[in-house]
C-alpha cells in the first residue's frame, strides 16, 4: 500500500497542479469577458455591465448560469457526433498550451524541451474545432465561416511560427523557461527590443490566429450572421466563446514569455514571484481589447494579402537579420 502511495504521489501532485492552473485560467477567461465589456463600454462612452453584483462584477457568473440553463439545439441535418465534438477540440487545444508556459521560474506544469513547438502544434489543432463545426452544422453560413477560418488560420500560422524563429535563434533553445533565462541575461533584458519586427509580426498574427477583430472574418456578423458557430446554442456556444478567450490568454502569455521577459521584472516583489508575469499579461490582454474597440474589420482579400505579402516576408527578413547578427557578433 505504501509503495503504491509513493508511486502515485508525483502523479497526484501533477494532477492537482493542473487543476489549479485550469481553474485559475478559467477565472481569468471569465473575467476577461467582463473586462472586455467594461473597457469597450467606457471607450464608447457607455457604462458596460453594472447590474449583477457590485459594479457588475458577478456578470460572468450570471452569463455562465444563463448559458447552462438554455436549451441545447442541434440542427436536424447536422452530423451529430462531429457537432458535439467540435467545441471540445477548440477548447482542449487552447487549454493544453497553458501547460508548457512558465508562470515563474519554478512553476511550469510541463517543462518540455520543445515547448514553443508544442504551442504551435496546439494552435494548429485548434483550427479543427472551427472547420468541423462549420461542416457538421450543415448550414451555409457556418460552412463559409469554417472555410474562411481554416484558410486564415493556416496562413497566419506560418507568419507566427516564422516570427518566433528569431526568438529561438537568439535564445538558442525551444524550452520556454530557457528562453526567459536567456532574455534576462541578454543586454536589453527583453527580446521585444532587438526582435521588434518579430514582435510586431507575432502580435498581428496572434490576433488573426484567435479570430479577433480586426481579423474576425470567420464570424463576421454582418455577412455570415455568426460564422462557424451560428447553429450552436446554450453551453456549446459558450464553449466556443471560452475557446476564443482561452486562445487570447494563451497568445498573450506566449508573447510575455518570448518577447517581454516572462516572470522577470525591474525589481522583485516579495511573496508574489509571478507578479510581473501577470502585469505583462494583463497589459497585453488590454491591448487586445483596445485593438478591438479601435479598428474596423478587414476585407477578406486584404487579410490574405496582409498575411502573405507583408507579414511573412517581414518575418523572413527578421530571420535573416537575426541570423546575420548572430554570425557577426
Amino acid at each position: 500500500m505504501e509503495a503504491v502511495l509513493k508511486m502515485a504521489t508525483p502523479w497526484l501532485i501533477l494532477i492537482l497542479e493542473a487543476l489549479v492552473l485550469l481553474v485559475v485560467a478559467l477565472l481569468h477567461v471569465a473575467y476577461t469577458t467582463y473586462a472586455e465589456r467594461k473597457i469597450i463600454g467606457h471607450m464608447q462612452q457607455r457604462l458596460g455591465p453594472n447590474r449583477v453584483g457590485p459594479r457588475g462584477l458577478l456578470q460572468p457568473i450570471a452569463d455562465v448560469v444563463k448559458l447552462v440553463a438554455k436549451e441545447d439545439i442541434v440542427p436536424s441535418g447536422a452530423d451529430k457526433s462531429l457537432f458535439y465534438l467540435a467545441p471540445f477540440i477548440s477548447l482542449v487545444a487552447g487549454a493544453t498550451s497553458l501547460a508548457v508556459i512558465p508562470v515563474w521560474e519554478k512553476f511550469a506544469l510541463a517543462n518540455v524541451n520543445v515547448g514553443l513547438l508544442v504551442i504551435l502544434a496546439m494552435s494548429s489543432l485548434s483550427s479543427y474545432g472551427i472547420i468541423l463545426s462549420g461542416w457538421a452544422s450543415n448550414s451555409r453560413y457556418a460552412f463559409l465561416g469554417g472555410l474562411r477560418a481554416s484558410a486564415q488560420v493556416i496562413s497566419y500560422e506560418v507568419a507566427m511560427a516564422l516570427s518566433l524563429v528569431g526568438v529561438m535563434l537568439m535564445a538558442g533553445s525551444m524550452n520556454l523557461s530557457e528562453i526567459v533565462k536567456a532574455q534576462v541575461a541578454s543586454p536589453f533584458k527583453i527580446y521585444a527590443i532587438p526582435q521588434i519586427i518579430g514582435f510586431f509580426v507575432f502580435m498581428v498574427s496572434a490576433i488573426a490566429e484567435t479570430n479577433r477583430t480586426p481579423f474576425d472574418l470567420p464570424e463576421a456578423e454582418s455577412e455570415l450572421v455568426a460564422g462557424y458557430f451560428v447553429e450552436y446554442s446554450g453551453i456549446r456556444f459558450g464553449l466556443f466563446y471560452l475557446a476564443e478567450y482561452f486562445g487570447m490568454v494563451v497568445m498573450s502569455a506566449l508573447a510575455v514569455t518570448c518577447f517581454l521577459g516572462g516572470w522577470a521584472g525591474p525589481f522583485e516583489i516579495p511573496g508574489i514571484p509571478f507578479f510581473w508575469f501577470l502585469v505583462k499579461l494583463y497589459a497585453l490582454i488590454f491591448f487586445y481589447i483596445w485593438v478591438r474597440a479601435t479598428l474596423p474589420r478587414y476585407r477578406y482579400d486584404q487579410l490574405m494579402g496582409l498575411g502573405w505579402k507583408i507579414l511573412i516576408p517581414l518575418a523572413l527578413l527578421n530571420i535573416v537579420i537575426t541570423g546575420l547578427i548572430k554570425v557577426l557578433v
Binding site: 452530423d79 462531429l82 518540455v112 524541451n113 520543445v114 513547438l117 508544442v118 504551435l120 502544434a121 494548429s124 489543432l125 483550427s127 479543427y128 472547420i131 468541423l132 461542416w135 460552412f143 472555410l147 481554416s150 484558410a151 488560420v153 493556416i154 500560422e157 511560427a161 525551444m174
Partner: protein
C-alpha cells in the same frame, strides 16, 4: 508499462488506418487519419523524439490534413453513390498484396538494429537533446541532401503556380 503503451499505440494506429480506409464519408476518413497522426506523434514521444513528435502534429495534422479537408469540402460529395466493393481484377490485387506481406515478414525476420554512426548514440541524444543533435547532423553532414530536397520542393511549388495560373487573352 512501456510495452502496454506501445501495444495500445500500435493497435490504435492500425485500427484508425483501417477506419480511414473503410469509412464511406470522406470527411470521416480524414478525421480517422488525424487520430492516426496523433497516436503516431505519441509513439515518437515514447522514443524520446520530441522534435519529430511536434513536427508530426504541426506539419501533418496541422497543415496537410487541413488542406485535405479543404479539398474534400470543395468537391461535391454524394454519399448516396455506392460503388461496387471489388474491382474485376481483385484476385490479382489480392496476390500482389499477399506477396508484399510475405516480403515484409521476410524483411522483418532478418532485422538487425543499425550500429550507431558517429555521435548519434542513444546516450548522446538523451544528453544533448534530440533537436540539437538533429540540427547539427542535418546542417553539417547532410547539407547537400537537405539543399536538394529544398530545391525539389521549390520546383514543385513553382510548377503548381504555373499549372494553375490564369492565361491572359492572346497568350494561348
Amino acid at each position: 508499462m512501456e510495452k502496454v503503451l506501445f501495444g495500445y499505440l500500435a493497435l490504435a494506429i492500425l485500427l484508425s488506418a483501417l477506419f480511414a480506409i473503410f469509412s464511406r464519408n470522406v470527411v470521416r476518413s480524414v478525421l480517422w487519419l488525424l487520430v492516426l497522426f496523433l497516436h503516431q506523434s505519441v509513439l515518437f514521444l515514447t522514443l524520446q523524439a520530441e522534435f519529430l513528435a511536434a513536427i508530426q502534429i504541426i506539419v501533418y495534422a496541422g497543415a496537410v490534413l487541413v488542406l485535405f479537408l479543404f479539398v474534400v469540402y470543395l468537391i461535391n460529395l454524394r454519399e448516396e453513390i455506392r460503388l461496387p466493393k471489388f474491382l474485376g481484377s481483385y484476385p490479382l490485387a489480392f496476390i500482389a498484396v499477399l506477396s508484399m506481406l510475405i516480403l515484409a515478414v521476410a524483411g522483418l525476420v532478418g532485422f538487425v538494429p543499425a550500429k550507431t554512426v558517429g555521435s548519434l548514440s542513444p546516450g548522446a541524444i538523451l544528453k544533448v537533446g534530440h533537436t540539437q543533435i538533429l540540427g547539427e547532423h542535418l546542417f553539417r553532414e547532410h547539407i547537400l541532401a537537405f539543399e536538394i530536397a529544398g530545391v525539389l520542393l521549390l520546383v514543385a511549388v513553382l510548377g503548381a503556380v504555373v499549372l494553375v495560373r490564369r492565361l491572359r487573352e492572346g497568350e494561348l
